[in-house]
């Protein structure tokens, strides 16, 4: 009886602590404008990013993913589009129409040279376009077809095999998509660019590329040179330091530290560029979209996005790079100035943000006020 009572008391204390914590985070005043950008075709906004001229890029799941029938295998096309707007929201153009990798938008980012990078979880690819929209680099390879029958090739029992869209790869030897490991730790992926629903991409000052890999079972960060050649990979499935459980975002600071939104473990892990664990941030809920602002000092933004079946959470945290929470703003909802499954944050300055929402099919411009 006594034990039960103390347990209840302890639970109460924990709840009280959580409440105190919630109260202690200042609310940041903000404006949000959902009317600047009107998509040429509506759909889930998985990614939003700006370039140095204030142009806005939106990578949206729109139209339909198409399965081509009447072939030896079932091929998969379409399903997403990449739009460019000027800073007033006027539509400029579409990039990558009909591009092989454009299937299930997951993220778009603009690098310091204004190149546009898309991350696609359907094709399992990361594609770099130059500012004019020409290919510069392709990472990963799309599964040749979708739908995997038992038999030769990928066993049907492999978890997530169909979600990867991977069948016998070109060549039929070695691995298909990721997720089957390379004989190392479970869910570590192989030493290469076989992504499994990659979620995000970032760069250090030298231009090295870091891919968050991802929503699937790989649970790793893959590092490449600026030319796209493989350097190293770190992480595998788990909850210890340096392990991941569904990586939903990645960002780098000016010093080259890599921040990883380890959503399933409800934390942001920080590494150096070689993958050495440095610290973790655990008081921001389930981080889905993260962003590190330009300017000095830099700030880290992290969205504790709601899931598809609730209106809970939804607030976005502003933190110092060391992890101290500066404040938070917003909540889940479907109205303007509310957030519905935020999957992308662009933060060129600490007060000028764009957020992309999967639930509400829009990109909102967010202005933080003192």
């Amino acid at each position: 009886m006594k034990r039960i009572a103390s347990f209840v008391m302890a639970s109460g204390a924990v709840a009280l602590g959580a409440a105190l914590f919630a109260q202690s985070v200042p609310e940041i005043n903000f404006d949000a404008n959902a009317d600047i950008i009107n998509l040429p075709s509506y759909g889930e906004v998985a990614g939003v990013a700006t370039n140095s001229r204030g142009n806005v890029f939106v990578y949206a799941r729109t139209g339909h993913a198409v399965a081509t029938l009447g072939d030896e295998r079932t091929f998969y096309h379409g399903g997403s589009r990449l739009f460019q707007f000027d800073q007033s929201g006027k539509f400029v153009k579409e990039l990558g129409q009909g591009v092989y990798a454009v299937n299930f938008a997951q993220q778009v980012r603009v690098d310091p040279q204004d190149n546009i990078w898309i991350v696609d979880a359907g094709s399992n690819q990361v594609v770099k376009f130059d500012p004019e929209g020409r290919y510069q680099l392709v990472l990963g390879r799309k599964g040749e077809n979708i739908g995997v029958r038992p038999g030769a090739g990928v066993p049907a029992s492999v978890p997530d095999a169909a979600a990867r869209g991977a069948a016998a790869p070109e060549g039929g030897r070695g691995g298909g998509g990721g997720g089957r490991g390379g004989g190392g730790n479970p869910g570590a992926g192989i030493n290469g660019d076989s992504f499994n629903r990659p979620s995000d991409v970032t760069w250090d000052r030298a231009g090295n590329v870091y891919v968050a890999d991802g929503y699937g079972t790989n649970n790793r960060i893959a590092k490449f040179t600026k030319d796209g050649n493989f350097v190293k990979t770190w992480g595998h499935t788990g909850s210890a330091q340096g392990q991941f459980n569904q990586i939903r975002g990645i960002a780098a600071d000016a010093a080259g530290n890599i921040y990883v939104a380890d959503a399933g473990n409800k934390r942001i892990q920080v590494f150096d560029g070689e993958g050495t664990f440095k610290s973790q941030i655990t008081n921001v809920g389930t981080p889905q979209a993260i962003c590190i602002s330009g300017g000095s000092p830099q700030y880290l933004f992290a969205s504790n996005s709601n899931d598809a079946e609730s209106l809970e959470h939804g607030e976005i945290y502003k933190l110092q790079l060391g992890g101290q929470v500066v404040g938070k703003f917003g909540k889940a909802g479907k109205l303007p100035k509310e957030f519905g499954m935020v999957n992308a944050i662009d933060c060129r300055t600490e007060n000028d943000l764009w957020v992309g929402e999967i639930w509400n099919w829009r990109a909102q411009k967010v202005t933080l006020k003192k």
Binding site: Y42, T62, T74, A162, G171, G174, N191, G192, D227, I358
Partner: protein
């Protein structure tokens, strides 16, 4: 003859009533109430050229009498017409939430709500057509791919006039046709120049006249056939009647093969980096070999990589001119034009 025809006619005439045997009885009110005369405006909706109605699943009007039609056409689409039936505009062109129309409604503020039973999404539009709200979430297409058929596995069907994921084609000087077939079969098929089946050889395996993904094929001026037996990391040379003459197994996995033109022909073979593989294998793949037709290796060039002058899974080559090659790559989406300088070849220390 006439009788038989009329029998068919009778059968057809009775088919419809017979099918109606389970129809419900007429509503009681039908006989108990007067019939109301009415007219219908023919072709009320005036669709612009190029727009077509499909199944008319939804219709609603707003306070101005404008008519909204939600239709299953080639794609599901939402059209607005004015009170005269003149086309005004289309809502949500290409929307993620339009796949199988079900209903459209207009609320008291003239917002237009479209209910789509294909995507499980309900969209709320302003009267101007701007999306205001989304209810529901479309099922994740990636989670659904498990339902789709077809991995295209090896069958070994060896049919004379059907292929199973064929890979390449070549011709001898007489115009005979040689096809490497392929992923789903493991064979080489010969046709004459008119497309008549002559012969096929090969099953899956690694023995004589066996292949594991014959991925490319080339024929020289004498009619010898060079088969890139990629999965076995060897080139198999066949005579014109498809008898095995030689095997080359020192040039890695031949993904792409080509033979140059001119009096002195050379053969090129690419040991391409295999897509989806561990990047560690990039160090041991990627180079292209230049050989005499007897298999003597004259040299090699290139390495794996995404960069300029690197090869990212070369999938086909053209070497009409032996010093001017075009290479197509799978994983860096490009074609590179290469100019070789064989006279300047240097030893690479046996690497």
């Amino acid at each position: 003859m006439t009788r038989r025809l009329s029998a068919i006619l009778v059968a057809l005439l009775f088919a419809t009533p017979a099918m109606g045997q389970n129809a419900p009885a007429a509503a009681k009110a039908k006989a108990a109430s007067p019939e109301i005369p009415f007219d219908s405006a023919p072709n009320f909706l005036k669709l612009p050229p190029g727009l077509y109605m499909g199944e008319g699943t939804g219709v609603a009007t707003n306070s101005k009498g404008h008519v909204f039609v939600f239709t299953r056409s080639g794609e599901t689409r939402l059209f607005e017409f004015d009170q005269n039936g003149t086309f005004v505009k289309e809502f949500g062109v290409g929307s993620y939430g339009f796949a199988f129309a079900h209903a459209v409604r207009v609320d008291k503020d003239d917002n237009v709500w479209a209910v789509d039973e294909g995507t499980n999404v309900i969209q709320k539009f302003t009267p101007d057509g701007k999306l205001l709200m989304v209810l529901g979430k479309r099922p994740d297409p990636l989670e659904q791919t498990v339902m789709l058929p077809g991995g295209g596995q090896y069958s070994g069907a060896n049919r004379p006039y059907s292929f199973h994921r064929p890979t390449d084609i070549a011709w001898d000087p007489q115009g005979n046709i040689f096809i490497s077939d392929g992923y789903g079969d493991s064979r080489v098929v010969k046709y004459d120049k008119n497309g008549r089946f002559v012969k096929s050889v090969g099953t899956r395996g690694n023995g004589p006249l066996q292949f594991s993904t014959p991925h490319a094929i080339a024929v020289d001026a004498k009619g010898l056939v060079y088969v890139a037996d990629r999965g076995n990391s060897r080139m198999i040379i066949l005579d014109n009647d498809l008898n095995q003459k030689a095997v080359w197994d020192t040039i890695g996995a031949p993904w792409a093969v080509c033979i140059s033109q001119g009096p002195h022909q050379y053969i090129y073979s690419s040991n391409s980096f295999a897509t989806g593989n561990n990047f560690d294998s990039a160090a041991t793949t990627g180079e292209i070999y230049k050989m005499e037709l007897d298999g003597t290796v004259l040299g090699h060039f290139g390495k794996s990589g995404h960069g300029f002058k690197e090869f990212s899974s070369v999938h086909q080559m053209d070497c009409r001119n032996p010093d001017e090659l075009y290479v197509a790559e799978i994983t860096q989406w490009r074609v590179q034009k290469l100019t070789l300088h064989p006279a300047a070849s240097r030893s690479t220390g046996g690497r």
